[in-house]
Symmetry: C2
Subunit: 433 residues, 2 copies
């Protein structure tokens, strides 16, 4: 039986999960695919710490060069992370004609084009299923399963930490800060949570999905990003009352010849399937032609889900090696299907706006006048708490479809009115099926 | 650029959808994959009827032999359906070394092993994404995306007609018969609805998914099947009150060394993602090791969703032809991972049982005694309507985990009691996440 000789660089949590899966399911994989995955080397600077996986003797080494310079190794799995050493490892592996599997979303969303070009030149494979939505085979779906479709929209819950926080806020009627602290204590959020809750991690993944969906390499810096720090429990409650749930979404969408690449919290209908994806689960909704809407859901991160995705890529690369068809599905065959990225200011959307207003005569006329002056048409106004002339009360406005720049300008102007006690919260409404 | 020369046999609804997608998205597919799909022939006995698709001149012919005997054609798409002519077409195509794409679930669940063997011998590809869950790339997920996982359970809503009927019964508080008639009038159910509502179509699909999940070919006749005719509105309402929704499920599950292959209506938790899949949508929940739980949802049938799946297979086969790697992923590499199919009588499950009982003294003692004698332990009893000594009232029992044969025996015995006015309804409870 043919074999794939594998070297893993990075023996952290995911590396250990991949090694364990290969050792445990190796026989089954060989029987099922006809190619046996053989774990030849695992490189990590720390060769001492116990990862709970017993590697065969001699497999663990402390130098990545022992993998990169080993002519026997066909396939390098990069699990170091970051955009420094990882980039060099991958470049070296590709230059040596070795196939590469990586889970590195930060690297791909920054240097994807460069690495893809290298892979093209050397004829080697570059696979990256684990870079987006660990337990969800969404990369394969976009690269292969939907290859016959014109992708119209991708909407994804791509960050488990944010989804966990928003879900707990809702279920426990708890404020953001407390839930974040609890999430950090439970290991569901990092000590420095910015990468997650400011939407940066989601933007990395969004850039990769957008690249596949629209046929060109995008960087995370081309994605408009807003995190979830400004989402208050009050907003989650008002949204629920209006029939919506609030999720941090990556939205990649065609608007005529242009594409929108944006990451922000959004109100989505309670009845939508995406609205039921809770806790650390991730999900991606894809709208294609002719396929219609499809949804993929699973664990977005964690050792086992990510390991499964890496092993699926290892199998794909192994089959390509065994069948002599490397490069069968290149990382991305550039064929842009759009004219430009639509600036956020040109977005048209429905908006949820919460004002904290002093409730006294003439207030309605004031803010309503501002919206009118900016061409923003109000669809509904909700004021649930009792009017109190002394304390500001929340007032929730839902607009008809309006322009983003106009709406932001209206909100800025309203924020300056003395009837408003704090800067309004503005969230976009996405009418997903 | 390399080309895939395609012949489609069967120019019905799906055939027209495939032709349209190839003509419309062909350039994009060529740019994205590096291989151009070329529609060389479409064969159908009826060459006159307008399908709303304008084929290039000379493409439409009235004889499948013009495809099967054409040495230029690399790839045959079988969309005739049924287990007669379709089987001969596929055998002939494979014998001639042509790759085959089919959407024919009935044929695969009956003659899958034979066709796979033929494909193996000739080295040709046999792809069948559209056979299960049209708009859901679940076949590819099982064959490739989860190839590194040990599949523990597959639970699927695989029949749009049944899901549409059950959803409408619930949303409109309507009885089965009326909803079925409305579904027939609206074109969501066949004039002869048995294939759908008796679970046969679901069993075909279940057999195919089970084959991929557990590594051996299964036939639909090896699947225990129960349809939805006996599900009353009352049951849907009681289920909702207990926190469940009723769905027709295909359940393919390991039980120790054995596997369960069953299709029946089941109560699943309202909070589960599968519980929110409504109307004509299909969904498949897969539990694997190490991946955990993943869910795939989309339109299960219809021209466009099915066409998308067929075109994805055409692209895969085209890439294999272009890269000289046909047979890269065979239909099924036999490697059984189980000892036997567990007979339904050995199932252990929790049960929902609705009795229509005459409410008079001593009734409880009677049926409770029967359950006790059969080792079935009652978890809860619900009797919501007012007691009425003259009319039988519904009484809903939820059991703890019990054996199927025992529970069925208890129900048979209770049915014979004179306190019971009609044969009890027994449904299984599946605790999906």
């Amino acid at each position: 039986m043919k074999e794939t000789k594998i070297g893993i660089i990075g023996f952290g949590t995911v590396g250990a999960g991949v090694a364990e899966c290969l050792l445990k399911n190796g026989d089954a994989i060989a029987a099922r695919t006809g190619v046996r995955p053989v774990l030849r080397r695992v490189a990590d600077l720390d060769t001492v710490r116990d990862r709970g996986v017993k590697l065969p003797p001699g497999v663990l080494v402390n130098d990545a060069a022992l993998i990169l310079d080993d002519p026997e190794i066909d396939l390098v799995v990069e699990l170091v992370g970051g955009t420094g050493a990882a980039r060099e490892f991958i470049k070296k592996a590709l230059a040596a004609g070795k196939s590469v599997v990586t889970a590195n979303k930060a690297l791909l969303s920054k240097h994807g084009a460069e690495l893809a070009e290298l892979a093209d030149k050397s004829g080697a494979d570059l696979y990256f299923e684990a870079a987006v939505g660990g337990g969800i085979p969404i990369i394969k779906a976009l690269r292969e399963g939907l290859a016959g479709d014109r992708i119209v929209e991708v909407a994804g819950i791509l960050n488990g930490t944010c989804n966990y926080i928003l879900t707990r806020m809702e279920k426990e009627s708890a404020a953001f800060d407390g839930v974040l602290k609890a999430a950090q204590a439970a290991g569901f959020a990092e000590a420095d949570p910015g990468l997650d809750i400011d939407g940066i991690d989601t933007a990395h993944k969004a850039a990769i999905l957008a690249s596949l969906a629209f046929g060109d390499w995008f960087g995370a810096e081309q994605v408009s990003v807003e995190g979830i720090r400004h989402v208050a429990l009050k907003d989650i409650e008002y949204a629920a009352w209006l029939g919506y749930r609030i999720k941090l979404l990556a939205i990649l969408k065609r608007a005529g010849d242009e594409v929108q690449l944006r990451v922000h919290p959004a109100l989505i209908p309670c009845r939508s399937l995406l609205g039921h994806v809770d806790g650390v689960f991730n999900a991606v909704w894809v709208q294609g032609e002719p396929i219609g809407g499809t949804l993929y859901s699973g664990r977005g991160a964690g050792r086992d889900a990510t390991a499964s995705a890496v092993v699926a890529d290892i199998i794909d690369c192994g089959l390509n090696l065994a069948c002599g068809c490397r490069g069968r599905v290149p990382p991305l065959r550039r064929s842009p299907t759009f004219t430009r990225i639509q600036p956020m200011s040109e977005l048209r959307s429905r908006y949820y706006i919460r004002l904290q207003v002093v409730d006294r005569p003439g207030v309605l006329a004031q803010y309503a006048g501002v919206f009118r002056d900016h061409n923003v048409s109000i669809a509904s106004v909700t004021q649930k708490e009792e009017a109190n002339p002394d304390h500001p009360v929340p007032l929730v406005i839902v607009t008809h479809e309006a322009n983003e720049a106009d709406t932001q300008a209206a909100v800025r102007e309203i924020a300056d009115l003395d009837i408003v006690s704090e800067y309004p919260v503005l969230l976009r409404i996405e009418d997903l099926a």
